[in-house]
């Protein structure tokens, strides 16, 4: 079983991202579960969402304490909170950032990757320039970094899961897929 944790801010769409990812994973024939942090979400405040993936039906209904990998939708969170809590050794930390993975330092042995999802989102006019919506873009990079499903399924899932600007979202995901920086 693979367990992922997404970090974002209230209003940034981390839950939608986790749902679309889950959908793409399901479409690929795997079993999946996605859920937000159980609590009150406040615009601006740090939030998390989770995804569980397995080859057999997922019976486990308890929370995720030790994720395999992290996906960080907003790089300013890294300063704000202790992002790596519970993250397994060798876990991937995929960050939406224009910086190179090597510029990020964490306590512990993790694999940092980055993608400039913000730039991509702005390019495809997803959200506004001041607050771009990066959640579909970053998913492109996610499935490159953590190959739990294919781009085709992701495209389908985006079609089902996004209400507007479907083509732009797909294009953004694809571009992100291609521009993931894996670090070392």
């Amino acid at each position: 079983m693979l367990e992922l944790r997404l970090h974002g801010r209230g209003g940034q769409g981390s839950v939608v991202a986790s749902k679309i990812l889950a959908d793409a994973v399901m479409k690929s024939g795997k079993y999946v579960q996605a859920f937000p942090e159980f609590g009150v979400e406040r615009r601006g405040a740090p939030v998390v969402a989770f995804v569980r993936i397995d080859d057999k039906p997922i019976l486990l209904k308890s929370k995720i304490y030790t994720p395999d990998h992290l996906i960080v939708l907003d790089p300013t969170l890294i300063e704000a909170i202790n992002i790596t809590e519970g993250l397994k050794e060798n876990g991937i930390i995929l960050i939406n950032s224009e910086q190179h993975p090597s510029e990020f330092k964490f306590d512990g042995k993790f694999r940092v990757m980055t993608v400039d999802a913000k730039r991509i989102a702005i390019k495809y006019r997803l959200g506004s320039k001041a607050s771009p919506i990066v959640n579909t873009a970053i998913l492109g990079a996610v499935i490159k970094a953590i190959p739990v499903t294919t781009m085709d399924y992701l495209v389908e899932a985006i079609k089902d899961g996004v209400p507007v600007k479907i083509e732009e979202n797909i294009a953004a995901a694809k571009e992100a897929y291609d521009s993931l920086i894996k670090g070392e």
């Binding site: 579960q33 159980f38 019976l59």
Partner: protein, 384 residues
């Protein structure tokens, strides 16, 4: 069609497939997405229903009663404080024998304010005369709404579908959404047995004197007893068309088990993992999930527990001044039988405290280790 759905949306689809005609609901965390999606579905013209956006849950249930009595298939969904606020009219709906179906998301009761899961809200409605079905995954949630209408309309008793807050309501899982056609065959349009009709005018619910009131109660109870069978029958019928069978009880490896863990809701699923693990290490254990709380399937529980060594009931609830409620129900139902296996009552997971496989294993171990329960209520996962 398979979709990744949160439990709340599974409810909305279940209601849509049931072609509900009147929806009256009021928002409350963690139920809001039910109402929001239904608003959209109705606004998009995908469901021919009236949606009354009432000013409280109390009015939601009253409106459902009015609608149902006037001959429409009525639906609502709520949670916790909202359910509690409906209490008087819950009693009303059942004694009026109206086949309303509602979904309740199990959320703990305040104060302190809480939005997280436990079962005290729906369990403190156990004496309201409603049927209650506890579900364990989103697929079951959707299916149970549809089945629920068929059952409710057969026995003329309202039915509550219950699911865990967040653990189901907000968790996305793959769900097969059946075709409308299939469901239409399974669940034909509502044919009311009670109807406010100017062409055949009757008054409903008038003053009922001591010389006749009790006979209505007797009939209500008989219908409940009948419902034990009906739920299994309709569950089988549904299974025959969808491949998914639902019964009052959902046993997992109980047949040859020596130890049985009795659970409800999502804890059951996690328990199955523990059962598998312990079986691997040679412990003959099984899990009996109770789906139906009302009518209480005493006879079926008896059959399942006959010959077992020990039974461990896990309650995500507590009746203050007594014990966990499923524990109490199970014990009472077995008292007059020949079963005398020790039954352990564990209370855990209140107010959204996570119930992990480790905790369940600990519970099982306590049960196995001790000859009989040292205390009537064994608190688990609490900082005493």
């Amino acid at each position: 069609m398979k979709k990744v759905l949160m439990g709340n949306h599974a409810i909305s689809y279940g209601a849509t497939l049931s072609r509900v005609q009147v929806i009256a609901a009021y928002p409350i965390t963690p139920q809001t997405q039910v109402v929001e999606l239904l608003s959209e579905i109705v606004a998009n013209g995908e469901l021919d229903a009236e949606f009354i956006k009432v000013e409280s849950e109390h009015s939601a249930m009253a409106a459902c009663i009015g609608a149902s009595a006037a001959g429409a298939r009525a639906f609502t969904a709520t949670s916790s404080q909202g359910l509690l606020l409906m209490h008087e009219v819950l009693h009303w709906a059942s004694r009026a024998r109206l086949p309303i179906v509602m979904a309740n998301i199990n959320r703990a009761i305040s104060p302190g304010w809480t939005i997280w899961t436990d079962q005290n809200d729906s369990l403190s409605q156990r004496d309201t005369g409603w049927m209650q079905i506890y579900t364990a995954d989103n697929q079951e949630v959707l299916d149970s709404i549809i089945i629920g209408y068929k059952v409710a309309e057969k026995v003329s008793i309202p039915l509550m579908i219950v699911l865990d807050a967040f653990v189901l309501s907000h968790t996305y899982e793959p769900v097969d959404v059946p075709d409308q056609e299939k469901i239409d065959k399974f669940l034909p349009p509502y044919k009311p047995k009670i109807k406010l009709d100017p062409e055949d005018p009757h008054a409903f619910g008038g003053l009922t004197a001591p010389n006749i009131y009790m006979e209505f109660q007797y009939n209500h109870q008989q219908a409940m007893m009948e419902a034990k069978k009906i739920i299994n029958e309709v569950g089988k019928e549904y299974g025959d068309i969808t491949g998914r069978y639902y019964q009052n009880l959902s046993p997992y490896k109980v047949d040859d088990a020596e130890y049985v863990v009795i659970t409800t809701g999502t804890i059951s699923k996690t328990t199955n993992i523990v059962v598998d693990k312990l079986r691997d290490s040679g412990v003959k254990i099984g899990n009996l999930r109770i789906r139906t709380l009302r009518p209480f399937p005493s006879e079926e529980i008896y059959e399942q527990l006959k010959g077992k060594k020990k039974v461990f009931v896990i309650d995500r609830n507590i009746s203050f001044g007594n014990t966990g409620i499923f524990f109490q129900e199970v014990k009472a139902s077995l008292y007059n039988t020949d079963i005398r296996v020790p039954i352990f009552g564990f209370v855990t997971g209140l107010g959204g405290r996570d119930v992990t496989p480790e905790l369940i294993e600990e519970i099982v171990n306590i049960g196995i280790k001790n000859e009989k329960p040292e205390e009537e209520v064994i608190w688990m996962g609490v900082k005493k």
